[in-house]
């Protein structure tokens, strides 16, 4: 009765055991090792790829940082250059202004000088002429010729008194009076230049 029970194993047991051993052998020897190798290779590949990706990301970040730094520097340089240009322009402008002012002053003082010279010249002319007139008048009044050479000092003193200048020194004969009188007037114009 025992042998007919479906809970009791029979000779099939041996066949089933052999069947399972075949499966175990095939899987253990021919299937698992290459599969495990493939899985390990893939893990290695994934690991390497992840590492490479990390590296790429890091280098990209570094490059970005460099780029930003370069941009920042360029911007700063540009700012400096603009500032410098602005300062240079300012300098040029103020220089030009100063030069113009100087030129203006020079022209004005030169003109003033010219005017002074012309005035002095006119005064000298006038005084020389006045001296002649005075001599003429004196000759006529005292009836004899006054020697211009002899009374030169006297005449000059008179002229000096008229022009308001200091008493000029004794002169050599024949030297034009205007040439001698230009000296003090030019010295007087000096501070104006």
């Amino acid at each position: 009765m025992l042998a007919s029970n479906f809970l009791v194993p029979n000779g099939t047991f041996i066949a089933e055991l052999i069947a399972f051993l075949i499966v175990l052998f095939v899987i253990g020897k021919y299937v698992l090792p290459p599969l495990n190798r493939a899985m390990q290779e893939r893990q290695e590949k994934v690991r390497a790829e992840l590492a490479a990706a990390d590296e790429a990301r890091a280098s990209a970040a570094a490059e970005e940082e460099q780029r930003r730094a370069a941009l920042e520097e360029a911007r700063a340089r540009a700012g400096q250059i603009v500032e410098q240009a602005r300062r240079t322009a300012e300098q040029v402008r103020s220089d030009a202004e100063a030069r113009a002012q100087e030129e203006h002053d020079r022209i004005v003082s030169a003109a003033a000088h010219e005017i002074e010279l012309a005035r002095q010249h006119a005064v000298e002319q006038a005084t020389v002429r006045m001296g002649e007139v005075v001599l003429d008048v004196v000759e006529r009044v005292i009836g004899r010729e006054v020697d211009a050479q002899v009374h030169r000092d006297l005449i000059d003193q008179g002229i000096a008194a008229i022009t308001g200048q200091g008493t000029p020194g004794p002169r050599r004969n024949g030297e034009p009076a205007d040439a001698a009188d230009r000296q003090p007037s030019r010295a007087g114009a000096g501070p104006n230049a």
């Binding site: 099939t12 055991l17 095939v26 290459p34």
Partner: protein
């Protein structure tokens, strides 16, 4: 047409664990089980050798992915319980899982006849018992290798009770060790046998008629579909439980702390 066709409801009792038995060299052999087991062996090995041919470390195909998922499932389980030294039993656990799963799935083509032309071989006590006995033998060998023969014997004498109760310890441990292969085998066998029985019960429903209306024949279709969907779940769960328990038995046998 099966023998149930046209019979009144449950007029025939479904066959329970009946097999086509032949005497070979004085041993009774269940020919249908041997044939189905052979088919399962061929399919399992073919799937293994097929995946081996198209193996890639790049993007795996569906078959390779299925194998890898199974292997990773088993490997993670072993590493989590036994640790790296248990990796030697990965092939055993994988072979158990895949082979049992494929054998279980044979139930999917069953129609509930007296003898299935390709019944699940795990529904015959011989296959689950053969695997369970083989596994438990390996477990005991691993235990002896891990603890030494002295440690192996002491392990059964000195726990769970104190030393002076060693006969009791021996008895308890004997029952426990005997129950391991039996429960391992009977759990798988019982689940698959009951699945086959459900199929034949549903098939017998086909004989149910109300007058001349074939109510049973109509009901058989949805019932079969529902039951086979559930069977699919059972097939996976039972295959997984068998290999998981194998791993846990190895874990208990190879652990040295007590």
């Amino acid at each position: 047409m099966g023998p149930w066709f046209g019979s009144p409801l449950l007029a025939l009792v479904p066959s329970v664990g009946e097999h086509v038995v032949r005497k070979v060299a004085g041993l009774s052999i269940d020919l249908d089980t041997v044939w189905a087991t052979g088919a399962a062996v061929v399919i399992t090995c073919a799937l293994g050798l097929l995946v081996r041919r198209q193996l890639t470390s790049g993007v795996p195909g569906k078959l390779q992915l299925a194998w890898e998922t199974g292997i990773q499932l088993v490997t993670r389980q072993i590493e989590g319980s036994i640790g790296p030294r248990g990796l030697a039993i990965v092939p055993l656990a994988v072979a158990l899982f895949v082979f049992i799963l494929i054998a279980n799935l044979f139930e999917f083509v069953g129609i509930g006849s007296r003898y299935e032309w390709l019944g699940a071989p795990t529904g015959d006590i011989n296959l689950p018992l053969a695997m369970a006995v083989f596994v438990i033998l390996l477990v005991h060998m691993a235990s002896i290798r891990e603890r030494g023969i002295g440690g192996y014997v002491k392990h059964y004498l000195l726990q769970p009770f104190p030393k002076f109760l060693f006969p009791l310890n021996l008895f308890i441990n004997f029952v426990e060790e005997l129950s391991k292969p039996l429960t391992l085998a009977l759990r798988l066998f019982g689940n698959l046998l009951s699945g086959t029985l459900m199929l034949s019960v549903i098939a017998f429903l086909g004989a149910w008629k109300l007058g001349s209306a074939p109510v049973g024949d109509v009901l058989v279709v949805p019932f079969n579909a529902i039951w086979k969907a559930f069977d699919l779940f059972i097939a996976v769960v039972q295959a997984f439980i068998f290999s998981l328990l194998t791993i846990l038995y190895f874990d208990t046998a190879m652990s040295t702390e007590h």
